[in-house]
Amino acid sequence: MATKTIRVDTLTRVEGEGALELDIADGAVAGVRLAIFEPPRFFEALLRGRAGAEAPDITARICGICPVAYQMSAVHAIEHAWGITLDARLRALRRLLYCGEWIESHTLHIVMLHAPDFLGFPDAISMAAAHGEVVRRGLALKKAGNALLRLLGGREIHPVNVRVGGFYRVPTRAELAPLATVMAEARLDAIALTRFVAGFPFPDFARDYEFVAMRHPTEYPMNEGRVVSSRGLDIAVAEYETAFAERHVAHSTALQSGLRGGGSYLVGPLARFNLNYDRLDASVQALAAEFGVAPGCTNPFRSIIVRALEVVYACEEAERLIADYDPPPAPAVAVVPRAGTGTACTEAPRGILYHRYDLNAEGSILAARIVPPTSQNQSTIEDDLRIIATRDLALPENVLRDHCEQAIRNHDPCISCSTHFLRLTVRRQ
């Protein structure tokens, strides 16, 4: 068969390394492979024999973009195994820390990685020449998220203050109070950012996704809840592995996760928003309506608006948590290791992150299982690409490539997490 090949050596503005391969035969897309070839780092293997208490610091190193997510899933899973429950005040501080990461990570993606796609710039620095105010306010917003991480975590990347049972040190009211003003200003920057991205031109594209997210009785989900889907799945986190399975495919060093019955699904901001719209503040719901996104949104390109709305939400939630802050009597509750298995799922900025640990009586890790959001979205991203490549096959190859890359960025793939850069190979007959 006569084939033509287009090769793009590098998918840019994503975290990590991978390639995209499109097979075209007889004028149709015959195959799509999102290849993740970041070298494997073997976290699940190297965790064996380590102390359960070391899991939050070690697993943070899976991803420098969302270390708090790894720390949160790790501590909650170990606490589950050891039968530890935190009081509401420590719980609130963990939620505040997570707000910091949502603000920082979402703003990085919106302003630095994804917005340039919609406006035709190669990066945020070039975009700053035309949209200086947007980039400056975006950086200020990102800095506000990092300010939360720095105070509660000690530093922005790989925070040091999270431990099984709570924290090493909790802030005083006086230390936390100034951040209320920072969050109030950040909220205004977040609303301005939402307005800006809502004005982008959005392709007419919709898919019948199965959305999967956490669901909490009263809160917009972060650290706790059940795992639910738009097609009726509703399970406890401990049942996660009965509903989802990971597959190892030849073209990728990241494992792909799918529903056990077959079928891909989508995690992340769009899934959270659609499944938990009723848990958002009325103010955020009103902004969603103003900016034209309603629950049930199935256009992945509009996820950038939802991501911005989640930043607004995280700023409001952070303001509230700071205002209500009641310093816990101790930075951590007592921890007594015991043999057993613990599971946890938390909402990383990119979607649910599952951890399971089997521990012995001394608290050492016997086995670990970690399922990052990008592994879960990988099949869905390939499905999106199949549709977009089929639609755009007649367009010039550089346009086709740009559209494919933008569609990948819709899902903010953290390829480092999956443990991996993209090569686009289009073979045409």
Partner: protein, 269 residues
Amino acid sequence: MDARLPSTRPRPTLAVWKFASCDGCQLSLLDCEDELLAVAGALDIAYFAEASSTLRPGPYDLSLVEGSITTAQDAERIRAVRAASKYLITIGACATAGGIQALRNFADVNDYIAAVYATPAYISTLATSTPIAAHVKVDFALHGCPINKTQLLEVISALLAGRKPDIPNESVCVACKRRGTPCVMVAHGTPCLGPVTRAGCGAICPAYQRGCYGCYGPAEAANTAALAAAWIALGADRTSLHRAFRSFNAAAEPFRKESDAHGDENHPG
């Protein structure tokens, strides 16, 4: 950093490279929210895939290299990066010491592969994770897991100015004293790696009432054996000593030796 270099002088070109890593150290550059636009004004960012779709071929004046070498392809790629770079600076524990993924160096990599992947035949990896300096000449190493962004800006500024970077060569203990943090070992009996760990983080852990866990790697002339004895005196067991020295800088020689002296976590002593 002066963003207004004379326009007649071409701006030095910067490239940022990733090998096996978490992306956190290159993220440190994007985390310079107040300085990023100035850095982009002073330097011509020619290759930074995480931040820009414009990827220009070398040669480059300055390459920042994140990550360790864990595949045969990456062992080739780092040679090409070196050949294209006037200055090559390694950033972070993966690039300077092999990172947490160097724990495979102490294990059977095939066992590691089998523990994670259902079809080991699909995986191509080296048995070890090695620092960049094991493969090519490195002009300056910036340590830390992750690096400190203020130190990164200092290294870049120094290079632009043609001077030696002002990166203090001292232990976390010195930084703690300067910060006025009471010693967690003396005051609370908390085991701490501060006496043998390179400063640069800002001595954060003791300020958060925990012992330093060594993420900046061994300080110069670190007396790890004396510290291990002090840990034992505080009641630490050999397994915890072994684990403490065998983490993010496990393959850095002083830490490797000290961890070996305390056995294997599965077979302590």
